[in-house]
Structure formats: structure tokens, C-alpha cells
């Protein structure tokens, strides 16, 4: 790894990215692949909306529709929203706490490649005999009955990418606990770091139940187990519980980091310290905690009985309180501030009412007896798109514009940014507001078509038109990205001028070692403190010294590739056994080879010492502000 920036060939760059362990490059990998999957999921959503634009439509077939809807949900949640959040966590959190890297750079890379190969595997189902079609929740009776390999793709793909997510979660936790710069106490951490911390803790505890659930389904479908086979004593409700014990915390895994992004943006562009910082932190932790106590609100109609329903209903409602605390603290942060409506701030400002609308419908859903009506209707679809798009996606779009300069050293065009914003906002409300009414008017969700004469036609049409607005908005954003990178106008440390936290104290993008000298943190919003005292940079906490850096490694890629290969073997050994050993004879060898690749690369990793390398003091002294051009 050279410290001198130079023009490198495409292959060299590619190799660099395939082997990188630098959190800033991994962030870019997450951003690109998450963004790609967002487009794929969005395209699937467009097919859904086109099919539902008019009654009795035959744009797609029934089976294809179910595949689209399943893949839309699964892709958006696991392969788009979460990785995009990871992109910003990777890009920003180490900088915000004044760290040179994450705790486990190697595992960071492994986490990414596992996610990536899991996602590719899942999406290959489209070309290999059909995608999963039992909904993103994949309820056991239907998913066990589903023919073909669709569900197998779901199970194996999520298993692989889920492992990556778990690794990423642990990595962030340790990073935040152990790698903070001198003076960066817990109660001085920016809210995005805090929410990353809590979301990572949720990942740590929520993904194991999903792993177990997926294993049970894998064993049932691939190895003849009977967990969900009622005639053999199985029980399908187990899947529902395991899925939702994971599934509910999952939605907070999505929303908390978005809350964090908004907290930082709102305080930045209001030129004001976050109102009620301590309460915000406490609320974040409390939401995380309560998130584990409420999962059965997705199962009110399963027949758990009134006692369970009542308990879970009340527990669910409780989450409105800490969330409300956050909403009001944001409002009060703006109150008395000096608000500048940059594109990120526009998203933040639009987020507040949009999310409140989605949140309050959540509380309505929590009212168990009334949920008997809402459940599995478009009311629920409206609720969760309001919180997910009004919260998470607006957060991601805000983050994209806000952190773009820090990640790439260029500034997205503000005018185009605002065009994207308005188109998207209008489209979003247009699409999903009417869906509340569709649900109440008796339209179940996950329906391939509806017949005319049920009073559902008009609102569905409106909804589809709204979706097109969103699609155009996304295209404008893509255009914006392209022209920005082509023009390539470089920016300095603090391009927004209002930066308050550590990431804005170093070049954009930061040099690969981040901080030449670890900064001394003297309070919340450390850069702001320095600015108020007339400085533009942080005071260092240590003398200039050697910096220890990890080596790049290709092993994470190979390790994940091995699992990817093995997954094919695991899947086709079903056919091999069904054909009595006649066909698919390659399946078992492929399974074994894949596992050997993975285990082999693990062995290489543990047998070969990797102590990293040092950047010497002298080099650093020469390297004054060259980092920006890496």
C-alpha cells in the first residue's frame, strides 16, 4: 500500500477493493452494492405497482408476483437498507470517535463479503428456476410446501449474509467500546455513533434467532427434519416466533441508525447542540431494549389468546414514549436554532412529520383488538412504508448527500438534490398515504390482483402514479452522482461549513490512517468547541508517532466465496437424493469443495501470522494533507 496517490489501472483498483480492510473503502463497497440492491428492489416494487395499477391486471403472472413481492421485501430489508446503513456506519463512526480504524479490520471485510455473496446468491434465484415466493416472512407452512428451490435460495442466502451482518455488528460494538479517542467518553459520542452502538447490540441478539429459524427450515427442506411438519409432530408457530423475535428488533436496527443520521444533520444545520442529548441517548437505548419485548404484535391474529395479545399490545404501545421523546427533542433542537435548508436538512425536516405519521399508525396497529382488522391488509403496508421510507430511506438519502463529500471528496449538486428530494417526497406520500384507506376498505396485502367492483380501483391507481415519482427521483439522484464524479470538484475538511463532530476535522476523504495524531476530545461536538475558540482543527492528544496498520487480505473474499459455492451444493443435493443418486451427482462434491475452500482459508488465516505494518513518523510528516487524493 503506497501512501503516494497515483493513477492506477482498473485492475489494480479492483484488486485493492477486493482485498481492502480499510473501513472507508469497505464503506464504499457497502454503498455501491447496497445501492445496487436498492435499485433492484425498487424495480421489483415498480413491477408490483404496475401490476396493481388497474383491477384484474395481467402484467405479471400470479407466481411471478409472489416472487417479486418476496424478493422486494427481502432485498430491501436485508440487501439494501441494512448495507446502506452499514456504509455510513463504516464511513463515519470510526471518524466520529477519533479512531484510526475499526476493531477488527479483517472481520469488517469478511462481513462485507459474506453479505455480498449472500445477496448475490439470493438474487441468482431469478435465473435458476425461480425466486422465493412465500413473502419476506416466509411462514413455515407455505414455505415448506413451496416447490422448487426458491425458498432454499432464501434460506441459504440469508444465512450467509446474516453471518456477515452479525460479524459487522460485533465489530462495531467493539470498535465503539474500545477504540474511542482520548476524552471521547460515552456521553460525548455523537448520536449516530450511539445509535450504531445500540443497533449493533440489537444485531447481536436478534440475528441468532433468525439463524436458528433458518437452520430449522434448512433442515426441514434439505435434510428431512420435521420441525414444521405437522403430521410428524411439528409446529409452524415456532417459525413465526423465531422470525419475529428477530423481525421486530430488525426494524429498529433499521430505524435507529437513521435516527442517528438525522440527529447529527439536524444539529449541524441548526447550528445548535442537540437538545436533550442525555434523553436522546437514553431513549435510543430504551427503544432498543423494548424492541425485544414486543415481537408478538405481528402475531395478534395467530391465536395466541387474549392474555398474550393484551400484554404484547401494551408493551408495544410503550415504545411510542421514547420515540416521542426523540421527536420532540429534534423539534426543540431546531427551535431557537439557525436552520439552513441544505438537501440533507430538507430530508431531515421532511422526515419528522412523515415518520410521526408512520409511527402513530404503528400504535394503532398495536391496539390488538383493532389489529384483527388491520392485520395483513394494506393498512400495514402503508404503516411500514411510512416508517421505513419516511424514516430509513429518507435517512439514507439524507446521509448520502450529507456524507458524500466525506466519502468521496466531492459535493453532490444541491439543485439536483432538491429536485430529487421533492419528487421523492411527493411520490412517497402519494404512493402510501392512500394505502391506509385501501387497507381499511378491505384490501388484503400480498394480493396479485384485485377484481373490479370492490371500490379499490382509484386509490390503487394513485398509488402507482406516486411510485413513478419516486422512480424518477431515484434516476435524478443517479444522474447527480454521475455528473458530480465526472466534474470531480474537490472539497476541504468541512464542506458544509457547519460540521460539529470529529469527521469534519480531517480531509475529505480522510487519509487511510484517518488521524495523523489522535484528537483530544473536550466535550460533545468537539469540532464545534474548537471552532468556538477560533481554531479550525482539533488539538492533538498525542505526539506524532508511528501508526500501526493492518495488511490487506484476499482471504475474506475467498472465505465467503467458499460458502457461496457450498450453498449450491447444499441446495442441489436435494435433487440428487430425490433422483436416487442419478442426477446432480456433482452436488455433494461441490458442497464439500465449497466448505473446504472456506475452512482452508480460515486455516490459512490462523496459521499465517499477520501483524500488519507501521507507517513511520517520517512518512507522516512528508504526507501533509496528501490523503485527500488517495
Amino acid at each position: 500500500m503506497s501512501t503516494v496517490a497515483q493513477k492506477r489501472g482498473f485492475l489494480a483498483v479492483l484488486w485493492d477493493y477486493l482485498t481492502t480492510v480499510d473501513h472507508k473503502k469497505i464503506a464504499i463497497l457497502y454503498l455501491i452494492s447496497g445501492g445496487f440492491f436498492f435499485l433492484v428492489g425498487g424495480l421489483e416494487a415498480m413491477f408490483i405497482r404496475i401490476q396493481l395499477a388497474v383491477p384484474d391486471n395481467d402484467f405479471v403472472s400470479a407466481g411471478l408476483y409472489n416472487e417479486l413481492l418476496t424478493m422486494h421485501g427481502t432485498t430491501m430489508i436485508f440487501l439494501a437498507a441494512m448495507p446502506l446503513l452499514f456504509a455510513f456506519m463504516n464511513a463515519v463512526v470510526p471518524l466520529q470517535i477519533g479512531a484510526r480504524d475499526v476493531a477488527f479490520p479483517f472481520l469488517n471485510s469478511l462481513g462485507f463479503w459474506l453479505f455480498f455473496f449472500g445477496g448475490v446468491f439470493l438474487n441468482l434465484s431469478w435465473f435458476m428456476g425461480g425466486a422465493p415466493d412465500a413473502g419476506w416472512t416466509s411462514y413455515a407452512s407455505l414455505s415448506i410446501a413451496s416447490p422448487g428451490h426458491g425458498i432454499d435460495f432464501y434460506v441459504l442466502g440469508l444465512q450467509i449474509s446474516g453471518a456477515g451482518t452479525l460479524i459487522a455488528g460485533i465489530n462495531f460494538l467493539v470498535t465503539i467500546i474500545n477504540m474511542r479517542a482520548p476524552g471521547m467518553t460515552y456521553m460525548r459520542m455523537p448520536l449516530f455513533t450511539w445509535s450504531t452502538f445500540v443497533a449493533s447490540a440489537l444485531i447481536l441478539f436478534a440475528f441468532p434467532p433468525l439463524t436458528v429459524g433458518l437452520f430449522l427450515m434448512l433442515f426441514d427442506r434439505m435434510f428431512g427434519a420435521n420441525f414444521f411438519n405437522v403430521s410428524m409432530g411439528g409446529n409452524t408457530i415456532i417459525w413465526e416466533h423465531l422470525f419475529w423475535i428477530f423481525g421486530h428488533p430488525e426494524v429498529y436496527i433499521l430505524i435507529l441508525p437513521a435516527f442517528g443520521i438525522f440527529s447529527d444533520i439536524i444539529s449541524t444545520f441548526s447550528k445548535k447542540r442537540l437538545f436533550g442529548y442525555a434523553a436522546m441517548v437514553f431513549a435510543t437505548v430504551l427503544i432498543g431494549f423494548l424492541g425485544f419485548m414486543v415481537w408478538a404484535h405481528h402475531m395478534f391474529t395467530t391465536g395466541l389468546g387474549p392474555t398474550a395479545n393484551a400484554i404484547f399490545a401494551v408493551a408495544t404501545m410503550a415504545i411510542a414514549v421514547p420515540t416521542g421523546v426523540k421527536i420532540f427533542n429534534w423539534l426543540l433542537t431546531m427551535w431557537g436554532g439557525s436552520i439552513r435548508f441544505t438537501t440533507p436538512m430538507l430530508y431531515a425536516v421532511a422526515f419528522i412529520p412523515s415518520f410521526v405519521a408512520g409511527g402513530v399508525t404503528g400504535v394503532m396497529l398495536a391496539s390488538a383488538a383493532a389489529d384483527y382488522q388491520y392485520h395483513d391488509s394494506y393498512f400495514v403496508v402503508a404503516h411500514f412504508h411510512y416508517v421505513i421510507i419516511g424514516g430509513v430511506v429518507l435517512g439514507l438519502l439524507a446521509g448520502t448527500h450529507f456524507y458524500w463529500p466525506k466519502m468521496f471528496g466531492t459535493m453532490l449538486n444541491e439543485t439536483l438534490g432538491k429536485v430529487t428530494f421533492w419528487l421523492f417526497l411527493i411520490g412517497f406520500h402519494g404512493t402510501f398515504f392512500v394505502q391506509h384507506f385501501l387497507g381499511l376498505m378491505g384490501m388484503p396485502r400480498r394480493i396479485w390482483k384485485y377484481l373490479p367492483g370492490q371500490g379499490l380501483d382509484l386509490f390503487n391507481m394513485i398509488s402507482t402514479i406516486g411510485a413513478f415519482f419516486m422512480a424518477i427521483a431515484v434516476l435524478v439522484l443517479l444522474y447527480n452522482i454521475v455528473i458530480t464524479q465526472v466534474k470531480n470538484v474537490r472539497v476541504g475538511n468541512d464542506p458544509w461549513g457547519d460540521g460539529r463532530t470529529l469527521e469534519w476535522a480531517i480531509p475529505s476523504p480522510p487519509p487511510y490512517y484517518n488521524f495523523k495524531q489522535l484528537p483530544l476530545v473536550r466535550g460533545l461536538d468537539p469540532l464545534w468547541i474548537e471552532k468556538m475558540e477560533g481554531r479550525t482543527e482539533m488539538t492533538p492528544a498525542e505526539p506524532l508517532g508511528d501508526i500501526h496498520m493492518p495488511n490487506n487480505s484476499f482471504i475474506p473474499f475467498v472465505m465467503s466465496l467458499g460458502l457461496f459455492i457450498a450453498a449450491f451444493g447444499a441446495m442441489y443435493q436435494i435433487d440428487w437424493r430425490e433422483s436416487g443418486g442419478e442426477e446432480f451427482v456433482w452436488s455433494l462434491p461441490v458442497l464439500i469443495i465449497g466448505m473446504l475452500i472456506t475452512l482452508g482459508s480460515m486455516a490459512v488465516r490462523s496459521l499465517k501470522d499477520d501483524h500488519g505494518y507501521h507507517i513511520h513518523k517520517e512518512e507522516l510528516m512528508d504526507d501533509t494533507d496528501k490523503g485527500g487524493k488517495e
Partner: protein, 110 residues
């Protein structure tokens, strides 16, 4: 970044003390091992003696809980300082574990 967190300015003075402390601790470990074996015996005896399940279940669970505490605090050194975060996360996990098991015993039926 392999910075040393030197435990003492003068390792030689410290050395004897540390050795002794480690030995004492090892003795504790053996004691807790003996306790664990003893508790395992009781647990098996409770079952062989065929006690009523309303009596046996709480006793068995209590014994298991006690064993786990010994494992965690002595064998896994959770009693040492610097384990606060570890303990926090382990107990959070245990809480979620408890709720999971509880629900599966109550609202997964038939």
C-alpha cells in the same frame, strides 16, 4: 498499536505477589470445581430418587443456575474487574434467552 499496559512499574516486586495470588485463585477454582461436581451428583440423585416433578424441576434448575454462575465467575473470570461490559452483554443475552424460552413454553401450543 500494540501498546503495553504495564501492570506494575517494578515487575520483580510484583512477581511473588502475583504468583501467590494466582495460586490462591487456582485453589478457588478447584473448590468451585468440586462444588460443581457435587451439585451434579445431587441433580442426578434427585432424578434417580424419582421425586415429584414440582419438587424436582425447581431444584434442578437452581442447581444448574448455580453451576453456571460458578463457571462464569470463576472459570471464566467474570468476577475479575474489566468484565463489566462483557457481563452487561451476557446478561442482556440471558434476559432475551429467558423471554424466548418462556414464550415457547406458554404460547407455542399444541
Amino acid at each position: 498499536m500494540a501498546t503495553h499496559e504495564s501492570t506494575s512499574a517494578n515487575p520483580k516486586v510484583n512477581y511473588e505477589y502475583r504468583r501467590r495470588k494466582a495460586r490462591d485463585e487456582m485453589r478457588m477454582q478447584v473448590t468451585s470445581f468440586a462444588t460443581m461436581i457435587f451439585m451434579t451428583f445431587i441433580a442426578f440423585i434427585v432424578v434417580i430418587a424419582d421425586f415429584d416433578k414440582y419438587y424436582a424441576f425447581p431444584v434442578l434448575l437452581l442447581l444448574a443456575g448455580a453451576q453456571v454462575v460458578l463457571q462464569l465467575y470463576y472459570f471464566m473470570h467474570m468476577s475479575h474487574k474489566g468484565h463489566g461490559t462483557a457481563a452487561l452483554f451476557l446478561y442482556s443475552g440471558a434476559l432475551i434467552a429467558f423471554i424466548t424460552v418462556l414464550t415457547f413454553l406458554t404460547i407455542v401450543w399444541w
